[in-house]
C-alpha cells in the first residue's frame, strides 16, 4: 500500500484554514438518488462527513404489516430497484424456509438465471455511473447498451423491466418464454467482449486510475467491523460470498469464482464488479444449459400463512448481504418484517473512508461503494 497518495497526513499538519461546512445534496448527481452529505472541510480536505438519509423513506416495513405475504412481493422490488429479482428471491426464500416449501428444480434454475441477469444489469449501472462520476461519459453509454438488452430479457420474462415481481412463494410466476433462449444466447455470446471493452474504456483509462487508485482504502478489519458486505467487502480481500459460503437455491451446482480485490481502494471496488459480471455470465451459461424440465411452481396454498415463529434468511444481493427477518403470528400478514439492506449498512463506513480526502474524492468513494437510495431508505 502506498502512502505517497495518502493525504490523510494533512489533517495533522499545523497549517490550517478555517473549517467550514459544505452541503452536498440532497439533489446532487453523484449521490445516487436523494441523499445528502454534510461535509466539514479544511480547505479542500474533508475533516468529517455526516450522511443524511431518509428522503426516500416509505416505511416498507410498516406497510408490510398491513399487507398479505403475497402483496409484499411488489414492495420488495422497490427496495433495491436496480436488482429487483434478488430482492424478490430473498423474500420468498425466507417464507419458503418458514413454511418448508420444496421448490421445483426448474424454478430454482430460472431463479438463478433471473438473479444473475439482474446482478449483471445492476453492476452495469454501478460501473457506468461510476465512469460518469469520474468524468467519462462514454463508459456509461457502453454499459447501458448491454444493460438495455438485459432489461429486454427481464421484460420478456416478467412483463416489466425493473419492478419485476417475478418470484412467488414456491417458484416463479411463469415459465421462460420461447423467445428468451435465443436472446439470452446471443447476449451471452457478446458479453465477454463487452466486458473487455469496458476494461479498455474505463478500467485502463489513465485519468480514471489516477482518480480511483489508492483513494478511500478500506482495510479488511474495518470492513468486517462495520458489517460491510458484498463487492465492497470483497474488494478489501475478504472472501465472503454467500453463494459459496452458505449456498442457497442451486448455486452449489455451478462452477464460478469469487473475485477478490487486493488494496480495497475505490479502483478495486469498481474493478471487482466487472469481474463479478464475468462470473455471473458463467453461471447463467451453465444454468441455461442445464435447465431441467418440470413445473415452475410448487403446490402451495392460495393463502400464504406461515406457522407462528420467525426466520432470518440471507442471500447475496447485488450490493451485499440481503437479509429478511420475518415474524409470523400465524395470520396471513407478517407481524413484523425487517430487511437487512446492504446499501444502508455499507453506507455506515463512507464517513470513515472520506476523512482526509478531498471533495472530489468523496464522489469517487461514494460512487465506488455504490448505494441505492431506495434500499438505504427502505
Amino acid at each position: 500500500m502506498s502512502t505517497v497518495f495518502d493525504c490523510r497526513d494533512r489533517l495533522d499538519l499545523d497549517i490550517r484554514t478555517d473549517r467550514y461546512v459544505l452541503n452536498m445534496g440532497p439533489q446532487h448527481p453523484a449521490t445516487h438518488g436523494v441523499f445528502r452529505m454534510i461535509l466539514t472541510l479544511d480547505g479542500e480536505v474533508v475533516v468529517d462527513v455526516e450522511p443524511v438519509c431518509g428522503y426516500l423513506h416509505r416505511g416498507v416495513e410498516k406497510l408490510a404489516e398491513a399487507r398479505t405475504y403475497t402483496q409484499v412481493i411488489p414492495y420488495t422490488d422497490r427496495l433495491d430497484y436496480l436488482a429487483a429479482m434478488l430482492n424478490n428471491l430473498g423474500y420468498v426464500q425466507a417464507l419458503e424456509k418458514m413454511m418448508g416449501v420444496e421448490v421445483p428444480e426448474r424454478a430454482e434454475y430460472i431463479r438463478v438465471i433471473c438473479c444473475e441477469l439482474n446482478r449483471i444489469a445492476s453492476h452495469l449501472v454501478s460501473v457506468g455511473t461510476f465512469s460518469i462520476e469520474m468524468g467519462g461519459f462514454t463508459g456509461f453509454m457502453y454499459t447501458f447498451r448491454e444493460r438495455e438488452r438485459i432489461m429486454d430479457l427481464l421484460e420478456m420474462i416478467s412483463g416489466s423491466r425493473m419492478t419485476v415481481s417475478f418470484m412467488r412463494v414456491g417458484g416463479v410466476a411463469d415459465d421462460l418464454p420461447a423467445e428468451f433462449f435465443p436472446a439470452v444466447q446471443s447476449l451471452l455470446k457478446d458479453l465477454p467482449a463487452a466486458f473487455d471493452e469496458y476494461d479498455g474504456l474505463i478500467t485502463g483509462n489513465e485519468i480514471f486510475q489516477a482518480r480511483t487508485k489508492f483513494v478511500g482504502v478500506l482495510d479488511p478489519r474495518t470492513a468486517v467491523d462495520h458489517s460491510v458486505s458484498g463487492p465492497v467487502l470483497r474488494a478489501s480481500g475478504v472472501n465472503w460470498d454467500l453463494r459459496k459460503k452458505r449456498p442457497y437455491s442451486v448455486y452449489d451446482r455451478f462452477d464460478f469464482e469469487v473475485p477478490l480485490g487486493e488494496r480495497g481502494d475505490s479502483f478495486d471496488r469498481f474493478r471487482i464488479r466487472i469481474e463479478e459480471m464475468r462470473q455471473s455470465a458463467r453461471i447463467i451459461e451453465q444454468a441455461v444449459a442445464g435447465l431441467p424440465e418440470g413445473p415452475v411452481m410448487a403446490k402451495v396454498p392460495k393463502v400464504i400463512k406461515p406457522p407462528a415463529g420467525e426466520i432470518y434468511h440471507e442471500i447475496e444481493g447485488a450490493r451485499g448481504i440481503l437479509g429478511y427477518y420475518l415474524v409470523s403470528d400465524g395470520s396471513p400478514k407478517p407481524y413484523r418484517m425487517h430487511v437487512r439492506r446492504p446499501s444502508f449498512i455499507n453506507l455506515g463506513v463512507v464517513a470513515e473512508l472520506c476523512r482526509g480526502w478531498k471533495i472530489a474524492d468523496v464522489v469517487a468513494i461514494l460512487g465506488s461503494v455504490d448505494i441505492v437510495m431506495g434500499e438505504v431508505d427502505c
Binding site: 458489517s227 432470518y312 427477518y325
Partner: protein
C-alpha cells in the same frame, strides 16, 4: 441449535452470566448481561463472532425484543441473540464499541421503534427530527393501513 463448539463455550460461560439461556433457535440474555455476553462472543477464539450481520427489534405489545444476528467469518457459524426489554423502559446498552456496524442499525431501531441505546447518542436516521412517535410500534396510529 447453535454450533456445537459455540454451545460448549456458552455452557462454560453460563455461571458468569446467570441470565443466559440457550434455546433451540436463539440465545436469550437479560440486558444487564448483554455487554458481557457480546464481548465474549466476539473475543472468544472458539466463537469469534466478528461480523454483526443484522440488528433489529420487534414490538410484541407487552415488551420489545431486540435481535442480533451474528456471523463468524473465521468459523462460518451463525448465532441469534435476543434480549427482551420492558415496554415502559425500552433501554439497552449499545454494542457499537464491539461492532462498528451496529451504529446505523441501532439508530434505525431507535428511530422506528423508540428503543434507546445507552452509552451512545441516539438520533433519528430515516425520519426527520421533528417526527412524533415511532412508526414500527404496534400502537402507532397511521393512515394507509388496510382494514382486515
Amino acid at each position: 441449535m447453535p454450533d456445537e463448539r459455540v454451545a460448549g463455550r456458552l455452557a462454560a460461560l453460563a455461571p458468569e452470566v446467570p441470565s443466559l439461556a440457550v434455546g433451540e433457535d436463539a440465545v436469550t440474555v437479560a440486558r444487564e448481561d448483554l455487554t458481557a455476553l457480546m464481548r465474549f462472543l466476539k473475543d472468544d477464539p472458539e466463537c469469534a463472532f466478528d461480523f454483526l450481520t443484522n440488528l433489529t427489534a420487534t414490538d410484541y405489545s407487552d415488551h420489545f425484543t431486540v435481535v442480533y444476528h451474528l456471523v463468524s467469518f473465521v468459523h462460518g457459524h451463525l448465532l441469534t441473540v435476543k434480549c427482551d426489554l420492558p415496554r415502559e423502559e425500552p433501554q439497552i446498552p449499545t454494542v457499537m464499541d464491539i461492532w462498528g456496524g451496529a451504529d446505523f442499525q441501532e439508530r434505525e431501531v431507535f428511530d422506528l421503534l423508540g428503543v434507546v441505546f445507552t452509552g451512545r447518542e441516539n438520533s433519528r436516521i430515516l425520519l426527520h427530527e421533528g417526527f412524533k412517535g415511532h412508526p414500527l410500534r404496534k400502537d402507532f396510529e397511521w393512515a394507509g393501513g388496510r382494514e382486515s
